[in-house]
């Protein structure tokens, strides 16, 4: 029997309603962390977000307090064999040498230009500071931004022959997105330069420049030849956003204590301690590089991203979650399958 039109209309409305309801349910059941294997690390993220964002939960965190801090090098992207910002600095030394032969002949630039890896690896902190100042100061903030923009669009990692911005960890992008969808404000808190990271943070992480906290040099206000106001980067350190400097940087730039913090090395220890020392629910996670095949395996003796045994001891003692890249991550990069 053909239903009479009126009933047919009602039935259609109900059918649409049912489909919509199913749609909502399907959405709620979609795994927000598809690149994570089931296990304690994934569970820690999911439980933390549920506990802190469910109204009436004893661990509920008001939206304004939902601050999550992510270290960058080794936590959200590859840091081996050298920090990409160091690769950028070396590239800029090459450009400087082309413009000014005196640079080419002087140390430590000469060593950088030689390409001699063993010699480069032996450069002292003082030398690196000289290289950073030479390549990161003396220009307007816009000129520096343009130089990073150009480099990041063209430079490629030696192992995978891909742009550095493709060497971000897909599982961490999923955590960031999941946090934001639940009202968290995500920040990069990096030992690297904030002016460097700010150039690509929005595109790569969905994090706007004003939510990047990092090491910074001072800027000097002045005027260009047309009398226009400009800011020039000058060789005076304002913030070394590493180790004990990370909580200080967070306080300076955000003014709130994070409730969640993600790191991967000794440089993140104090940030995780500071995060944990707040009241209520807390999430502290450390990425452990134990996957030589898909990425790198390194530990206490690495030149970058040191993860000393004492950090592992502290993580266990404090209940921090250690993420095993090998076991907890289904895939590491978006382009891996």
């Amino acid at each position: 029997m053909k239903p009479i039109p009126f009933i047919s209309g009602i039935a259609r409305i109900f059918a649409i309603g049912a489909l919509l309801a199913l749609g909502v349910r399907a959405h709620a059941q979609t795994d927000p962390l598809p690149s994570w294997n089931d296990g304690p690390a994934k569970q820690a993220v999911v439980e933390f977000i549920q506990a802190t964002t469910t109204q009436g939960s004893p661990k509920f965190v008001p939206p304004a307090e939902r601050i999550a801090a992510f270290d960058q090098d080794g936590t959200t992207w590859v840091e081996q064999p050298l920090y990409s910002q160091v690769m950028f600095a070396f590239h800029q030394v090459g450009l400087l040498a082309k413009k000014d032969p005196k640079v080419a002949g002087a140390e430590p630039f000469k060593t950088v230009l030689s390409g001699d890896r063993a010699a480069i690896a032996k450069l002292a902190i003082k030398d690196l500071e000289k290289i950073i100042f030479a390549t990161h100061t003396g220009m307007t903030v816009e000129a520096f931004k343009a130089s990073v923009k150009e480099w990041i669009a063209t430079a490629k990692d030696p192992r995978w022959n891909r742009p550095y911005t493709e060497l971000v960890y897909q599982p961490m992008l999923e955590v960031m997105k999941y946090l934001r969808e639940n009202g968290y404000k995500t920040y990069i808190v990096t030992g690297g330069g904030q002016d460097f990271v700010r150039v690509f943070s929005e595109q790569v992480y969905g994090i706007p420049p004003e939510q990047v906290v990092g090491s910074a040099v001072d800027t000097k206000f002045g005027y260009d030849k047309n009398g226009q106001a400009i800011l020039t980067k000058v060789p005076k350190v304002v913030l070394i956003d590493d180790k004990a400097g990370k909580p200080a940087g967070i306080h300076l730039m955000i003014g709130r204590r994070p409730v969640a913090a993600f790191g991967n090395s000794d440089g993140d220890r104090q940030m995780l301690e500071y995060t944990q020392a707040g009241d209520g629910a807390r999430l502290m996670m450390l990425v452990h590089h134990d996957d030589a095949e898909r990425e790198y395996a390194y530990g206490p003796k690495s030149k970058v991203g040191t993860f000393p045994d004492t950090l592992m001891v502290e993580a266990k003692k404090n209940g921090w979650t250690v993420i095993s890249m090998k076991n907890d991550w289904k895939r590491i990069f978006a382009w891996q399958q």
Copy 2:
């Protein structure tokens, strides 16, 4: 004739639609700046917001770039007879003296405690720095926050006998809200201490702590007696967010150039110049205190909030809008009618 039920239902739906449409229109026609008199200043705000947020407008600014910076003292609240943060510092000196008699006997604290206004007015910058360090450092960031919270809830301005948080300019609150409703991110960019302003910025301005840029001392990471991570404020200046320091502070903390900036004194000159030097639409405004009856009238010779004649000349030359409190503001405080 009574309409048949079906038609009646249709009519009701149309009636609701018409009411909704009217509602939308009524909303669109609501004056977003009711405390402003019609005139060039109000018009400048309205035209700027319309030009920068209307899709297809030649002056359209993408949402991510919509940054507006507001000085605080004299721009969003009263700064006479003394900056309220100085009043706070003097109050804290009293508390310190109660705890430690040595403080009471030593200069410059002795002068502050004397209450002798003429002598206090003569204190040198060095003395004020001593007072600021004594009252703003040596405690955890939480303890400092608690002391500001207590003071701001109880202290009253000598002229109106009202809390300082009631001495905010209603017309500026309306501008902030209007900007935010149009996708702008509003920032306080103050010469005052950011840790001081962050305590009440959300409640008073609707601006979260992470959007307050101000002068700052360093913090030192450490542990309390229970081994918990803490940050202690230390007497080392990180940022003096005044004059040429304002653009530098904006770059450090926000990393983008504002498209709109509001100030009231010589200390805001460089922030307005820096804002103006960007491409596209720009709005630079200066609050001029010319209303002795409802607030204060002061100019080049004032000890706080100096507005030298050269600033007025530069405003005219650069096309900055000078707001006359007397003529442009219908009311100054929310409680005034």
